[in-house]
Subunit: 431 residues, 2 copies
Amino acid sequence: MNIRFISARILTMKDEEEIYEGSLYTQDDSIVYVGPALTEAEEAQKLPAGYKPDRTIDCGGNLLMPGFKNAHAHSGMSILRSCADDMPLSDWLNTQIFPREAKLDAQMIADATKLSVLEYLTGGMTACFDMYLTPESEAQSYKDMGYRAVLCGNLNNFSSSVEYTEEMYDKLNHFDPLISYEIGFHAEYTCSDELMRSLSDMAHRHNAPVYTHLSETKGEVEGCIERYGKTPAAYLDQIGMFDNGGGGFHCVHMSDEDFDIFKNRGLSVITNPGSNTKLASGIAPISTYLKKGINVGIGTDGPASNNCLDMFREMFLTTGLAKLREEDASAVDALEVLKMATVGSAKAMRLFDADVLDAGKAADIIMIDLNQPNMRPFNNIAKNIVYSGSKSNVAMTMIAGRILYMNGSFDDSIDVERIYTRAQEIIDTIR
Amino acid sequence: MNIRFISARILTMKDEEEIYEGSLYTQDDSIVYVGPALTEAEEAQKLPAGYKPDRTIDCGGNLLMPGFKNAHAHSGMSILRSCADDMPLSDWLNTQIFPREAKLDAQMIADATKLSVLEYLTGGMTACFDMYLTPESEAQSYKDMGYRAVLCGNLNNFSSSVEYTEEMYDKLNHFDPLISYEIGFHAEYTCSDELMRSLSDMAHRHNAPVYTHLSETKGEVEGCIERYGKTPAAYLDQIGMFDNGGGGFHCVHMSDEDFDIFKNRGLSVITNPGSNTKLASGIAPISTYLKKGINVGIGTDGPASNNCLDMFREMFLTTGLAKLREEDASAVDALEVLKMATVGSAKAMRLFDADVLDAGKAADIIMIDLNQPNMRPFNNIAKNIVYSGSKSNVAMTMIAGRILYMNGSFDDSIDVERIYTRAQEIIDTIR
């Protein structure tokens, strides 16, 4: 399907402040033109030979921009949303989450993943970086729904293995154009030294980056120092885990040495402010990351700990919490946050072709409805998205050239009622 | 107009945890029945004699609940949204806000107020407590749009006067059933001792409560202690300002004595976490207010400082920031927050007839769309509203029995395009 978008405002995120009026053309799964409106003669000249649009969408001045990328999620946890809240973290995990997760099978997780995809689509998120229990069944769900996903290894002492991680690495990186897989493990505190060293060896065999939960809570850092005499980042770096890059999820409690490791290894920080807030984990030092030139992406974390999958919430929290932490209303400019939620997350997820709007890039595009009161008047549209934007402003979500969500409705290929029904059945089974 | 809602889930907020299936009937501006579904025979028995519905709305299992009340706002500032952000507070006020506000006239403020009302309607807020510059023109806008508002005096050394405040108190409390007026002043730091004593005298003449910005920033508290040897709450209490109750907006930096004053005088705290975050003012001690039994309402503050008018954001922040402040994930239960945003705010605004869903209460009702992925599965619907709810879930906003917003569209009486155009004209004039 080739789609021609006309009368759009366009924010390419190549330069996040520049918004211009123009057109955008997609061909199959890619963008073939973005720029000023074209006459018919210019279309013949500037578009691929023989290009014909199957559909023209008049944007009526609404904004096209790259989709948000959710750089840390546990999509299969959607069924646990609001099944337990307002509890201390350890009680919550041990009495509410772990016992229920133990009852989940691959099909349940596949179905629960689909519920999260629906939510991503309503919020303009065009890809997610998903660390959960059954990557094959999850990948199948994403493929079925036409959703772009990077699956992440979830190795720990209790489930998965280095062999399984390597098998998934080979398999899921050749599974579907929408799917990729990165090596990952749950966290230092859930893996033995031996297991992590073995994973590090495997990552070296593939010259591949590694991702993990890192320094989410004070207790985690203290425990690691007790075990290894070092912070998690320093310990992992010492065993070579980050020799080929990668990144850390959360990164709330970081030392000066940790900052240097992230900088020197080119690691990405994936911040999860909604979850860190709800679980009282603390406020990440985003200002410092920016000052040091460390790449920052944004994730929602899982729907049991957040509980919603809403990049607008995360963006406001990313700048707002930094302002509180620094006691400085100028900390972490909103435009930096917009960059994190799109380009920064894409970089962290290694979606190098799905970061900005440009010819040759993936057609992962959202339309922001500016004809709503929270977007008026037009003073600074980009800042409006961060400070007053809401999921209700998402008028369209397109992934790889397919419109999966538009004006409140999902693509006909998606059986929404079936997904809702299954989600309820699953939680009622395992409750 | 009489409306019969059937097949609804209902959260009356009389007991915030109880959600049941049933029906709700409105007659003119009031609720006449809420409870289990009625047969035709029961309708004849339980509804007012001769009651006939003009319209029946099948809620399809969606949730009816009391509208959110925005207990602190400066609605006329909507045109300044995103005209300046990411700046230190004093620069922001002195170089960006004050110079532009000085150019606003009553008509501009009336028009800007209407833009905020549109935003309140999209977010399910059925009333606001508005402190701004031209209460008469603001009241007219609210009346024109059918919106419930409590205007609040904005007395300070530079504008308004005790006489004008008293005039407005008499006039706007008899202006329209949707409108009321409360005595208020901007803040201790913008009023002279003499002015505040004179206002306190006036409040005593009317046995009326008084409202003000209070202890929003550390600097404000330190300044007051320097001027009067006391915190703002203690100083104001000493001059009798709170003898008839009232409340404080923000209340971020409070002493133990301040807590006692609020408790003993029956004052309301109106918390504004979005604004306090964006302006780096700090985190209010909500846990302490709850423990001491102090009434807490929630407000958005103005759209220049927040920048959006979204109770879902404020609710998440109210509990989330408390959790961060207390380093305790169980701090400030979500159900307490839902109560603050409805009943607590209504109490603070003295909207005693618009707090809960019950026969005889005002028909200020919203419908929450549960057929969206962020509301599934059904584990705890009330907590879902706080933790994963969004403006996109607001399917209907009704005020005094009139549906002003439904399924993304405003009532025909509202000229939305005209409001957008005027907002743009105003900011382009004063920029």
